[in-house]
Amino acid sequence: MSKPSEQPGLPNALFEVATLLAMLAAIGAIFLYVPDDALQGPVQRIFYVHLAMWLSTTYPAFAVFGVASMLYLWTREPQWDRLGHAAAELGLLFCTLGLATGSIWAKPAWNVWWTWDARLTFSMILWMIYAAYLLLRTLVQNEDLARLLSAIFSASGLAVSYLTYKAVYWWRSIHPAVIVTREGSSGLPDPRMQITLVVTLIAFFLLFLWLMRVRVHTARLQEEAEELRATIVRA
């Protein structure tokens, strides 16, 4: 029988407080500190949260999903499968929010909600990979097949993540390159904009880590319940 699940302790509480403070700092910086963009006006502030949805959460989620799936295939330790599954679920959530916030920004900026630009198209493919993986994971009961699916989806997800990031540099794209422009300079000329972006990226990365911990805890509880049920059936 498995050990009872761990109770959240002091380090967890400190981590939660740090995440909360970072989020408050990010909100304060976005709405009170950073100046309006000269061309776009206040709507440019969507960019801070939109970028965080990709750089602090969706891409790291895919990296964790990929590494954890490979480690699971190698070691067959269930903890890696739990981690990969949790990362995929969070990845889908943040990828959806990344697409949605981008679309909301695109309407006033480009006068369309969506266009089949290279980056947008790869982002949509990325979303479909996450969604298909999670859907198949709920449908496939065979553990070997589930492992194989994890490996295929995580490897293709990592490749598409890289293509999504590089799309604005490799193909003609109307999507702005904010961190580093196509010419190699910063896309945010004002230092206050750069500070706000860094604070927002850190805050959402902390939120991502905290959510990962909570989601992995849920998966552990679920596994514990399944083990207990199996023990009762055997008894």
């Binding site: 920004w105 909570v214 319940a225």
Partner: protein, 56 residues
Amino acid sequence: MPHFGFLFAAYTLVWVALFLYLRSLASRNRDLERQLGELRELLERSGRVSPGDEPR
């Protein structure tokens, strides 16, 4: 044109989605903790009346 509506919509969407996801996680955790409690209790009881035990 300031487009405050779009700014409001984007941030509201993010916070509402995160809030709903956290709420669903918390409810899943509560449900699982309750199930675990019930299963442990059941296992304890079935342990007491298992065939190997001496009758009281």
